[in-house]
């Protein structure tokens, strides 16, 4: 089970208007590793996740998911292995009920009705949303939408999870529940976020992205203690490491 790795080599990406979003990014996540991807607004975090999932195609560089190099030919296989959780759960939930939404991925995998039903129930149960199965997705609270959007990805049994700002818009209690949930996962996880406290709780390793380049890659606590690095990358230490200011 050591094949759920993610490797990015010298990845470049420019937007159609010429803005360079990624400038030679290289990284490797080992099986089961949880890595925080932090950086200021516009640092390239979301673009990196989109490029890894093959949702935008980079100008140059390679993405290797468990031995499969990302290309238009391998896209289907790679998307079966990757689970992408978007920043806004509204973008992910488009079916009439929660059950239908969570079943969307497994149905596209060609599974039988019985297997789909089992996967949906398991995924909803694992995020504590089993009772929401028959509810329309647009009627859920922010925390419930986030839980269901995670279940919608888990139901596909991905090897690797890519998460874009998973805690955005959550109240403190739902955020705490999310942190517990992410900590329990055994998937390989790449979590792009501004929530450095979440990273501190969930990810032993952190990558700092600055203006499309990797500014640092190392142990989370060491990185968050490096005030000079955080200052240079327009970041601030997590709240729990800031102490009380008068």
């Amino acid at each position: 089970m050591s094949h759920h790795f993610l490797e990015v080599n010298d990845l470049y990406y420019s937007y159609p208007d010429g803005t360079e979003a990624l400038k030679g990014v290289s990284l490797r996540l080992e099986h089961g590793e949880a890595v925080g991807l932090v950086g200021a607004n516009g640092a390239g975090k979301s673009t990196l996740l989109l490029a890894v999932a093959g949702l935008v195609f980079s100008g140059s560089g390679t993405v290797n998911i468990g031995g499969a190099i990302l290309s238009k030919k391998t896209l289907g296989e790679i998307r079966r292995r990757l689970g992408f959780i978007f920043q806004d759960p509204e973008d992910q939930l488009f079916m009439p009920t929660v059950f239908d939404d969570v079943a969307f991925g497994p149905l596209n995998q060609g599974l039988s009705a019985g297997e789909v039903s089992f996967r949906v129930e398991e995924a909803l149960r694992s995020v504590g949303a089993g009772h929401l199965s028959d509810r329309p997705a647009y009627r859920l609270s922010g925390g419930e939408k986030r839980a269901v959007s995670i279940a919608a990805v888990l139901s596909m049994l991905p090897d690797i999870l890519l998460m874009d700002e998973p805690s955005s818009g959550l109240d403190p209690r739902n955020r705490r529940m999310l942190i517990g949930l992410l900590g329990d996962f055994t998937h390989t996880r790449l979590i792009a976020t501004h929530d450095l406290d979440l990273v501190l709780d969930v990810c032993p390793r952190t990558i700092v992205l600055h203006r499309g380049e990797i500014a640092a890659d190392g142990h989370t606590e060491e990185i968050f203690r490096d005030e000079g690095l955080l200052e240079r990358c327009s970041l601030e230490p997590p709240l729990c490491m800031q102490g009380v200011r008068s």
């Binding site: 989109l50 999932a53 949702l55 289907g76 998307r79 079966r80 990757l82 689970g83 992408f84 978007f86 806004d88 509204e90 973008d91 992910q92 488009f94 079916m95 009439p96 009920t97 059950f99 239908d100 079943a103 969307f104 991925g105 149905l107 596209n108 995998q109 009705a113 789909v116 039903s117 949906v120 329309p136 647009y138 009627r139 919608a152 990805v153 596909m156």
Partner: protein
């Protein structure tokens, strides 16, 4: 204006809620309901342009469906009324062009134009109310799956499915833009200048395109290949759905080919 939009947004949401009911009509296979609605529309529009009395038995269909489904009459009337401007426009000019007197009612001459205007209005109300009932008694995913199963090309079915989904998202965006305008426009909060409307529409278009791209990415990331599959495949039961279609088609056929009002009330008009 923000309040009106809130009401319309809630209207959209309540439509989806009503469609999730569990009555006999809600449980019918959507293909059966599509076929009956289509047969009803064909029957209603096939009458001659001066027919009014013979349309009356067709009102039995919407009333029966309302009774069987438990849908609120007010919901059907309100949604049918939304189409009123189009309904009235369809026959508005008939009274001006068709001025020959058909009958005289208590000494007042009634022209063909007014009779055909009334006939068109009645037929439109019938057809629109039947479509409203279809949408209020069928969940959107089943409604569109039914269309696909009836042979409508999947590209159209997928377009309709996502149009339906985007309406809610788009309504949410409109609601936010209008609310932001309303909060910062003081006493002029109920009017939006032409220039500003253009700018707001432009922002709405850009936001919609961004949103559409993100929703599409989210679908691709979960293996979307151009077909929306459903967890509960449709099952057509001949005993239930077949009987529903046969009974109603027989009724519409009887209404079309037998002059039921004359049979029932012919004696009263002395014929």
């Amino acid at each position: 204006m923000a309040k009106k939009l809130d009401i319309n947004f809630n209207e959209l949401v309540s439509c989806s809620t009503a469609a999730s009911g569990s009555s006999l009509v809600h449980r019918l296979d959507p293909r059966a309901k599509w076929l009956v609605t289509l047969a009803f529309a064909v029957t209603a529009t096939s009458f001659g342009k001066y027919e009014i009395a013979r349309l009356m038995p067709l009102f039995f269909y919407p009333f029966a469906m309302i009774a069987l489904s438990g849908v609120a009459v007010a919901d059907v009337l309100r949604r049918t009324a939304l189409a009123a401007p189009f309904i009235l426009l369809a026959g508005l000019f008939n009274p001006f062009f068709d001025r020959h007197v058909l009958i005289s009612l208590w000494g007042f001459p009634l022209t063909g134009g007014w009779v055909s205007f009334l006939s068109i209005t009645l037929r439109s109300v019938l057809v629109v109310s039947s479509v409203v009932l279809l949408s209020l008694t069928t969940r959107s995913d089943r409604l569109f799956s039914g269309l696909g199963e009836l042979g409508v090309p999947s590209i159209f079915v997928v377009q309709l499915q996502f149009l339906n989904r985007y309406i809610l998202l788009l309504a949410g965006e409109v609601q936010r833009i209008v609310r932001a305008h309303s909060l910062r426009s003081g006493s002029r909060r109920n009017s939006v200048s032409l220039f500003l409307s253009g700018s707001m529409l432009g922002i709405l278009l850009l936001k919609s395109m961004d949103r559409a791209a993100r929703v599409h990415w989210a679908m691709l990331a979960r293996g979307f290949d151009g077909e929306v599959r459903t967890a509960c495949p449709l099952k057509f039961s001949w005993q239930r759905d077949g009987a529903f279609v046969l009974i109603w088609v027989a009724f519409f056929g009887a209404v079309r080919f037998i002059d039921i009002p004359f049979l029932l009330f012919g004696w009263a008009v002395g014929k």
